[in-house]
Assembly symmetry: C2
Homo-oligomer: 512 residues x 2
Amino acid sequence: MSTAPVSRRSGGRAARHLARSNPLEDHLRPIRPGMSGGLYRPLSDDAIQRIHRGALDALWEIGLADPPESGIAAMTQAGAVLGADGRLRFPPSLVEDALAAANRDVILHGRDPIHDLDLSGNRVHYGTAGAAVHLVDIDSGDYRESTLQDLYDAARIADTLDNIHFLQRPMVARDIEDPREMDLNTLYACISGTKKHVGTSISEADFVQDAIEILHMAAGGEAAWRARPFASLSCCFVVPPMKFATESCQVMEACIRGGMPILLLSAGQAGATAPASIAGAILQAVAECLAGLVYVHSLAPGHPAIFGTWPFVSDLRTGAMSGGSGEQALLTSGCAQMHQFYGLPGGAAAGIADAKLPDMQAGWEQMCSNVMAGLSGLNMVYEAAGMHASLLGFCHESLILGDDIIGQALRCVRGIEVGEDDLSLDVMRATCLGGPGHYLGAGDTLGRMQRDYAYPALADRSSPKEWAEKGRPDLLANAKARKEAILATPARARLDPITAQAIRERFPIHLP
Amino acid sequence: MSTAPVSRRSGGRAARHLARSNPLEDHLRPIRPGMSGGLYRPLSDDAIQRIHRGALDALWEIGLADPPESGIAAMTQAGAVLGADGRLRFPPSLVEDALAAANRDVILHGRDPIHDLDLSGNRVHYGTAGAAVHLVDIDSGDYRESTLQDLYDAARIADTLDNIHFLQRPMVARDIEDPREMDLNTLYACISGTKKHVGTSISEADFVQDAIEILHMAAGGEAAWRARPFASLSCCFVVPPMKFATESCQVMEACIRGGMPILLLSAGQAGATAPASIAGAILQAVAECLAGLVYVHSLAPGHPAIFGTWPFVSDLRTGAMSGGSGEQALLTSGCAQMHQFYGLPGGAAAGIADAKLPDMQAGWEQMCSNVMAGLSGLNMVYEAAGMHASLLGFCHESLILGDDIIGQALRCVRGIEVGEDDLSLDVMRATCLGGPGHYLGAGDTLGRMQRDYAYPALADRSSPKEWAEKGRPDLLANAKARKEAILATPARARLDPITAQAIRERFPIHLP
């Protein structure tokens, strides 16, 4: 629409190029992990209260079925009531006790402290998650079974991407059949691929001791592990609607004893395992996570736990999951507000594509929920990159492109500064009244290009002419080239060789 | 994550299919034009006040250069002050008078009243706009010069898409060299391609009379036109920073006399023709549009005008425009709040891709600003579909896919209802306590699948297995097939033959 004045333009351009070539100090970077969101508020204060009171009602009137014996003992001791129908019910006062005692200062540690995540307030962090069973091959379009090597490669790629702040295990290593070996290898692949915080799951309580032993060895001993636990348990402790997942609860108990932070994960699916209404699905997830909070409280008050309301969406025409929908973005954003209401560190799912390949649909689906989750101030945005086919497929190239998507979302989370300097009246006066009549070479512009503007790594902003001259660069081909370059360089996050060797001698590690 | 129970599943599925096959009454449609946004508020109340006061300061201290003689006469009569430097300055009291007298009940009419747009409150509408000079061919990847036929085809396609609520001319008919013929043919192609509201631009005041005559003929006479003006003038009345576009102002004056609603369009580019800071670019756009409002007020108090703050973004590394950036989404959303502060109907740009083709980048870019614009409650989201290469290229297939993107954004705008029924406690009780233990066949689920869930037309949600069985449907190929199907059916919005013939006899219409 507007045409930029051309006078002095090349001079301004050279100055901008010079300015941009100087590396930025960290505090000047335009986007960072942990920027604060919260300016998008899909729920009114009254709506939040109604959902909260409804969740309390559900916990007292409906309660949860299938608690393990150990959980019954701990929670009834704390004040829960076991009904004749086998359901455990929670009086509001017990929930309020658990809320009062909950840990609100959770730091999720990285193996390198530079990657520590502070989950207070409305600070936003993005990372992977999931249990995809396929790796998506962008050249053939094939969905093939995902392997341990795929998982390790994902961890290595994520380690290099600035806007992927943590690595929760996104794929299942289907080439490892033994469940114990799968859990241990999954953990090993994640922590040797990245120094960022790792989330993983453990399928049986009997495996926990081995996993904790690997973590002790990687940390340099139990004390070091407990001081800075760099891996958390992703724990589907409920089977919605309103039933405990008996075995997962036992895993959780063992991990709490082992000092692992717990992601209390309630993954209902609206219209299938949760109410079809957005508010109802949020309410049920909140109720279930409050039950999880009581559970943690009854065992170890103040143990670090993440309020993991992860309601998903059904496409009600088929009953299949639709993680890429607008309804999903609303569910996740509404959950973020409930976390803030409780003042608890919270997480939910966003960034999922229903698209099978990293195409235009994948782009719009991944951005919609990622940016809304960030704007709503969600502490932990899980599943944020690489996820396709409603969580069934993971794609390395898509993970790399997700770094650009999340960078853009983070720029939106950062928002609009309106200090005196930002209003720019002085710059306007100097420009319009006897000045050059444009802002291209202004000192204010040069400064802001570094501090204020986020630049994508792979997204192409060239003109059609430049683009044609460059041979029409292809987004996916460029992502693939970057993947190959990352994987061709030595793994920078690997465990020191002595530790790695010790773990390999002690446990059946399949990674070459 | 969660696994839906399978018992009774096929029965529920059949019931859902049956329910979905009944057409919905209009008031039950899950998404509609004019849903109200506003729950995303990037600017605090204090920030809004600061920007407003800064804009008043800019109008009084800096003023605008290059007003036409006619504008000087009208605006100084109203209270503006012409300086010795040729700049017209506006005392705050004059701006406040113009704000007080502004038309707040603007309806943008369609040629069919079913397409009328009510711009009050935070009601959100999406449509095309722009002046792309290329049509994007998705098969070859070529950017070729856009033609009048391309424009007419775009209008015909837009006419069929539920989530494209208006058609502002998105492309330039480069096959028509004579400027007058180009303007008249552009108008004719738009109004004969769709019965939705049309926006267009006129390049010289001398052409306005002809354009108005076409509108009179299409409406069935001047009185009918003036009662329901179904075309508005997209008017770049300023050349940022802070200069009137002399000739465009003269066009505006003539169109006001002719009864056309005016889009007061200020299209600065942050870092080039507007300050580099987001807040500063918004402030300058607000100041310029307030000047435009004074201009309209001085000529015809209460004439329908849209507050068109359209600040764009520079990629400051190159000075080139980046319409697909997060900074763009913030600019547009911040502007929406300023419109609401003034209580004026407003518009801004969103949905622009920098990507040259409808690829993953295009998807995330188009969604980011479209959904944020909607959540911020922008009345008129211009450029919302089909736009590539930072406004240089328009793509018919992308326009069609944009209908899905905007549908999803509108679902997000609709938000989360939290009535008693939405909390779903009764459904939870019935499901969990002696019920089936899932929600698949519940009456609540069946009802909500129609009322609450938006379904995309082309986005694929099938499982990898179904997708492979369907032959891996390609998003762009499906969009192209839909385009061809639309263009193969008779144009449903065309003017009646007698009117069309009369216009063709009177004016050199090039459309076959």
